[in-house]
Subunit: 383 residues, 2 copies
């Protein structure tokens, strides 16, 4: 028996996680109670005094249960904000740590996050308005493309970047597979591409931005981000699945870096693919990416090379825009096999607060990269 | 069209990833070709010259396809070791980055990793033999327990640690939910618990080790690890799902830290739960955890609070022991609702190269923690 604790001085402030739980009424009740314990005290509740602060305050509390469909239930559980220790890793731990290993539980939404909790998160530094401001485009959808394929030299990638920039692509990112390989080492590539885009901007008057992919080892990732900053790159592409959500957050938060963050979904797809488990599309690509500092959330668009449905993409767009107090809204950036003939349809779907990500398809233009990009830009400007 | 590249100077060395793909024969063929592209060049293959080094060397190559069951196929794809840039984040990216977002593809095994690639990974610093050596137990299964519940003060947790250590538990870890909360701040807790275990060791002659949970923000995680080291803690508990696989690797690799790493599965369950997608149990909890420096891989045992089957636990145990050249073997540490009456059965299942993780159940003993632990230890010593 744990000796009763009565002096935790908890604020009483709590935040809510909406879970979708699959099962019958009885099993859902058990699962809900189990989540309350597993995500917090992870200890037999009967061994804790019933009027103890730990039972009353630290343990999760079921606030609401209702049936959504035949065997799917919405369960809302509240947690004391103090359980998170006010850090991102421990916040993730409370929301979905151990129960990620249990079937039939899906994080559907983060709700009612109090200011006392959110004040510990800076969120996107730029957000929608900030990103519009740095490329000086107050209204239209933004344009993004990727330097590829892996295997090209830094020089060839820089030439590509130059041609994209001449055509007016706002954000020219490295493909997410460009790391520090021998054929185009990180520092050499960043230097060449940054230079190429700056040259194009001087010639065109555009404010196109080169966005290197940053997936360096933990020991050098900050240094490599600062190196990119010193060359006046226009943002950083980071895949939190590869380097950690908190690593992305720390880079976004770093005042000497202060660059737009484009978050890439590499290695995190498993969280969303199974509808009864994992994390919902809007929480993962919307809310969590924003809490982790992403100004833009790249997502595999419906109807491309990937499998997301229109509804899932809609949910992501909502997650990038939902209210989280001072945490800024981010741009959804649908990509993954997008083609130029779909621009209008995709724009109708997301509205203008989005960033088109068109990669390989730009290389199919008959008139060369720059002209194809100019055409792409003109088309979007007229939407 | 990409200009042909002929001077990549690739070594010709490749590594294999075994994927399990669900579908009919035709669709599996398409999926296999798609993986080759998606994980490397992510670019229309027809826009690259057919005799180009990128097509021949950088793109993945299907080595083998065979039917496993009715609609499940084994597809082995080889990748040039250079694609990984010889870093863990980019290795994860090549193995499962973008295809994590596509259904019906599961990483089943990493195979034939050449020395030229593995030499860039230190793997577990201690491994099975090293961990046995630091607790001076050449033969028997090792013992682990957790300090809990969240909400206790540092003093109360230290008292618990003292009682566990008096009873001879080899590794006394913080519960994975203990972060830097106000009720037991990280530095205070580590100091008190390290002191308590040292005191007990002096009294008993045992070499029990206190293992704090380390989930600090990226900016301070190395400093916090070094702080723990300065207090002569006996290891670090790290959840790579919370802080990043590469962050765990960097801490494991740090020569001034040089502590055993116990890897916790928090937040990574979604990778394994859906049998047609994600990553297999043995790759995630075995091979990847070892490549990321874990000396011990904590897993939710069959028949406990979690859902893993005997076969899945068997696979994990195999993944902790499989041959990866100099990458040391790790201890599987089955936990998650384990009880004392199951010790013999669990030991029969895993053999003695395992670490029992029993948490809450030790608190149920009628005779107090120390005596319950002594009984636990004696029982295991006689196995």
């Amino acid at each position: 028996m744990i000796q009763a604790v009565h002096h935790l001085n908890l604020s009483g402030e709590r935040f809510d996680v909406v879970y979708h739980v699959t099962g019958d009424q009885e099993s859902v009740k058990d699962i809900a109670r189990d989540i309350c314990i597993e995500q917090t005290i992870e200890f037999p509740a009967d061994l804790i005094d019933a009027d103890d602060d730990i039972r009353h305050g630290i343990m999760g509390q079921v606030k609401h249960t209702s049936q959504l469909h035949e065997d799917t239930w919405e369960v809302i559980i509240s947690y004391a904000i103090e359980t998170t220790g006010f850090t991102l890793p421990q916040f993730l731990n409370v929301v979905f740590g151990n129960i990620s290993i249990k079937p039939n539980i899906r994080v559907a939404k983060l709700m009612n996050l109090p200011a006392t909790l959110l004040n510990h998160f800076k969120g996107p530094r730029f957000g929608v308005a900030g990103l519009r401001s740095v490329v000086n485009e107050p209204r239209r959808a933004l344009l993004c493309t990727a330097l590829k394929p892996m295997g090209l030299s830094s020089q060839a990638l820089a030439q590509q970047a130059y041609e994209f920039a001449k055509g007016g692509i706002d954000f020219i990112k490295d493909d997410h597979g460009l790391a520090n390989q021998s054929f185009a080492p990180y520092r050499e590539r960043v230097e060449r591409c940054a230079e190429a885009v700056a040259k194009a901007n001087q010639e065109t008057g555009y404010q196109c931005r080169y966005v290197p992919c940053l997936s360096s080892p933990m020991e050098s990732i900050m240094e490599d981000a600062l190196f990119a900053k010193s060359l006046e790159v226009g943002g950083l592409l980071i895949a939190p699945g590869l380097v950690g959500f908190d690593t992305m957050r720390a880079i976004a938060d770093h005042d000497d870096i202060a660059l737009p963050i484009l978050a890439h979904p590499s290695f995190v797809g498993s969280y969303v693919l199974s509808p009864q488990q994992g994390i919902s599309h809007d929480v993962l690509f919307g809310q969590l990416m924003r809490l982790s500092g992403a100004d833009t959330s790249i997502l595999p668009n419906y109807g491309g090379r990937f499998s997301f449905s229109r509804e899932e993409c809609r949910a992501i767009a909502e997650g990038t825009q939902s209210d989280m107090m001072h945490i800024k809204k981010s741009f959804p950036s649908p990509g993954g096999g997008m083609t130029l003939d779909r621009i209008k349809e995709i724009h109708d779907f997301y509205g203008s607060d989005m960033m088109f990500l068109i990669g390989g398809a730009l290389h199919r233009g008959e008139k060369g990269l720059t002209e194809t990009c100019s055409h792409f830009r003109e088309f979007v400007e007229k939407l």
